[in-house]
């Protein structure tokens, strides 16, 4: 009984394949349009996911807790003296002052992210050395040496030179020597980054002694982050306490929002496709009517014809999914999502060259199926039923 049923489904699948092949022009055009829609949605999904992953990867290098002083709802410089007040909190490994800001290069019309830190004070593992592709981080006593990201290297057009100059706020020049550069792997964070000693950054932005932009708190046990953050917040009420998990969530929300917004735009494409699929499926030609009537006289049940239509839909959508997702993967991995870059990464003047590696997971595949295949199946079910109920006697003449 079960054996027969299986054989029957196989036979019907076989017939569905041959039926698609007989109408190959129609099937192929539908398949291509469907694959294109899936390609767009899948690319979008893969890019967002890869970017989220990348951000998380890079966030490993940010301190567990960042402290900023807020005044009138805006951030302002934080006194170094606050470090003493944190000394009593148990679980803090180290507090490192940092000057972190943007430098607008008026000559090259580009924004750089500048990070000045007492690099020697940073705890093991949190130093950025591992992200370097060449050179070394500036030593504690070395003056004027910096590490730069890939696109800064390009913007400065160094070409073999190792020195460059930037303006202080009073328009006097200060010069730097490049001692290393960041690897392209962490481009999303380090692409437009210049890392220097705290003293150089203070000099470049003319920040008075005793003040920095923020304090980085390194915590010994990551599970204590929230507790320590609460204690710091209680000790220093005027300070904004940012934890790494919180930053991570913010990224996630932003990426999720962008991806959702993109999906809504792409839903219009999907809707158009579903209408097309409905239209193609419901236009029953006289030949098709005749074929179904003949099959029914020969002993095919209504449910058998429905099964043929179901398998046809599954085959078309399965193939379209395979093609669309493969194309999307290639697009994202080898072409760095060239089509969507402007939408997804509008936060920087310098566009990082990304090397994205999306994960292939059951969940993501299911998500794309839910977006594409289910609406398609739903759109074809009623036309399929209409065609399956063509009466058998219409095959008889006279």
């Amino acid at each position: 009984m079960a054996q027969r049923n299986l054989e029957k489904q196989l036979n019907i699948l076989d017939y569905a394949l041959s039926s698609l092949w007989r109408r190959r022009l129609k099937s192929l055009s539908l398949l291509l349009v469907f694959a294109a829609v899936i390609f767009l949605l899948a690319s979008f999904q893969m890019v967002t996911q890869a970017l989220t992953d990348k951000a998380r990867q890079v966030l490993v290098y940010t301190p567990e807790i960042t402290l900023q002083k807020m005044s009138v709802g805006r951030q302002e410089a934080i006194p170094l003296a606050y470090r003493e007040q944190l000394a009593g909190i148990f679980g803090i490994r180290r507090v490192v002052p940092r000057i972190w800001g943007y430098y607008f290069d008026e000559v090259r019309l580009a924004n750089y992210t500048v990070m000045g830190m007492e690099l020697g004070e940073m705890p093991e593992g949190a130093r950025l050395d591992t992200t370097l592709s060449g050179g070394a981080m500036p030593g504690t006593d070395e003056r004027g040496r910096v590490v730069i990201g890939q696109s800064i290297k390009k913007a400065l057009a160094l070409e073999g030179r190792t020195t460059f100059s930037l303006f202080r706020p009073d328009l006097s020049l200060t010069s730097f020597e490049v001692s290393g550069e960041f690897s392209p792997d962490t481009d999303i964070m380090t692409n437009d980054l210049i890392v220097m000693g705290l003293a150089e950054a203070r000099d470049l932005f003319a920040i008075p002694a005793g003040l920095v932009t923020d304090l980085c708190v390194y915590v010994a046990n990551p599970t204590e982050i929230e507790t320590i953050a609460k204690k710091i917040s209680a000790t220093l009420p005027s300070v904004r306490v940012l934890t790494r998990p919180q930053i991570q969530k913010t990224y996630q929300v932003v990426f999720g929002w962008r991806s959702g917004f993109g999906s809504i735009c792409l839903l219009t494409a999907l809707a158009a496709f579903v209408i097309l699929a409905w239209d193609k499926a419901s236009g029953l030609s006289p030949e098709e009517r005749r074929e179904i009537a003949i099959l029914k006289v020969l002993g095919w049940e209504t449910s058998d014809i429905l099964a043929v239509r179901f398998w046809e839909s599954v085959l078309v959508s399965g193939l379209a999914c395979l093609a669309g997702m493969t194309a999307a993967y290639i697009h994202v991995v080898y072409f760095a999502a060239a089509l969507f870059r402007p939408v997804l990464m509008g936060w920087s003047v310098l566009r990082p060259e990304l090397h994205l590696a999306p994960r292939i997971e059951v969940g993501n595949i299911l998500l794309i199926l839910a977006f594409t295949v289910l609406p398609y199946l739903a759109a074809t079910v009623i036309p399929a039923w209409r065609s399956a109920t063509v009466p058998a006697d219409s095959a008889l003449g006279g």
Partner: protein
């Protein structure tokens, strides 16, 4: 939080399911009003054709329901990354009061769609179509469930606000019970649970085999009730005992994380055995209820034998799977 691909996919699926449900509901109303067995009027021919439409729609509904159930859990797992304090899907589902009810309604939905398809399959085996009225009444009853499902899900998604502190699963199921976070499962001793689990399992196997030998309606009823009990119990046991062996972390007690690739999609195998097993186990008695209808006796008898066999085989697979990590732990002593 609708502007997220997972929320959008879930809402889209619900919308599609509602539309298909409405079409099937229209057929149900027409069948209940105009069905005339034996007539060859055009209307009756149309209705006979519409039976195929509605059954296909419910079959699609079942497929959609299974996919959205998985999608819902995976979505919750994504949401937890934006909800402060939620470390996995459990935390995200508890972030507002609609999460767990939505999940349960989806699960119940799978059973009801399945039962409907079973009744339909039995019905079309008899040339009298004896279950037509029951079938379409049941279909009309499915519709409120569909609406409830969609509304709970929408309320849940609408209620997800990034940055609401929720309890992570280590707190929800952990042994530090006592704070006011409202734990799902507390006060149950592991030994007691395991004992109940093993006794129920043995009981089911015994009842199943004796039913295969000789059919007794009261025992079949007991078997069905036993399966529903065992299903609930298994969910508790998976959450509070099996899961921590799967994750090899004593305080990670979550029934959902095992669906993730980190655990080799183990949960799909586990639930993929448990849910159909419970369905077939419970359905044998349900099929027995309609055995008296014209032309169904032989069909029902054959189905019942098959259903008991399937449920026993799946039970065997399920118990093998649930012991696997525990045995691995015993043998390797927790070393990898």
């Amino acid at each position: 939080m609708f502007l997220n691909p997972w929320s959008l996919a879930l809402s889209l699926c619900s919308l599609v399911a509602l539309v298909l449900g409405a079409v099937a509901g229209r057929t149900a109303v027409r069948v209940l009003r105009f069905w005339e067995p034996g007539s060859d009027s055009n209307r009756q021919i149309r209705l006979e054709n519409e039976i195929w439409l509605s059954s296909t729609l419910v079959a699609y509904g079942l497929g959609f329901q299974i996919i959205t159930l998985i999608l819902f859990v995976l979505a919750a797992d994504q949401f937890c990354q934006v909800i402060v304090g939620a470390m996995c899907a459990t935390g995200a589902l508890l972030a507002n009061p609609y999460g767990m009810p939505a999940l349960l309604v989806k699960l119940v939905g799978i059973f009801f769609y399945g039962f409907w398809i079973l009744i339909h399959q039995l019905d079309i085996r008899s040339e009298h179509y004896p279950l037509v009225r029951i079938k379409y009444l049941a279909l009309l009853l499915l519709l409120p469930l569909l609406v409830l499902d969609a509304s709970l899900q929408t309320l849940y998604i609408a209620g997800i606000k990034p940055d609401i502190i929720t309890s992570c699963c280590a707190v929800v199921f952990g042994e530090s019970a006592g704070d006011a976070t409202g734990n799902l499962i507390t006060g149950l001793s592991q030994q007691g649970l395991l004992a109940a689990f093993l006794v129920s399992l043995a009981g089911l196997v015994l009842a199943g085999f004796s039913l295969l030998k000789r059919w007794r309606p009261w025992l079949a009823g007991l078997y069905a009730v036993g399966w529903l009990w065992f299903f609930g119990l298994s969910l508790v046991v998976i959450t509070s005992v099996i899961s921590s062996y799967v994750y090899a972390m004593p305080y990670h007690k979550c029934p959902f994380c095992m669906l993730k690739p980190e655990y080799y999609y183990f949960g799909f195998a586990l639930y993929g055995a448990l849910i159909p097993a419970a369905f077939f186990g419970a359905s044998a008695a349900l099929a027995g209820l309609v055995r008296g209808k014209a032309g169904l006796r032989g069909v029902v008898d054959r189905y019942q034998q098959l259903a008991i066999k399937i449920s026993l085989v799946l039970l065997l697979i399920f118990s093998g799977l649930s012991c696997y990590h525990y045995l691995k732990y015993l043998i390797s002593g927790g070393e990898g």
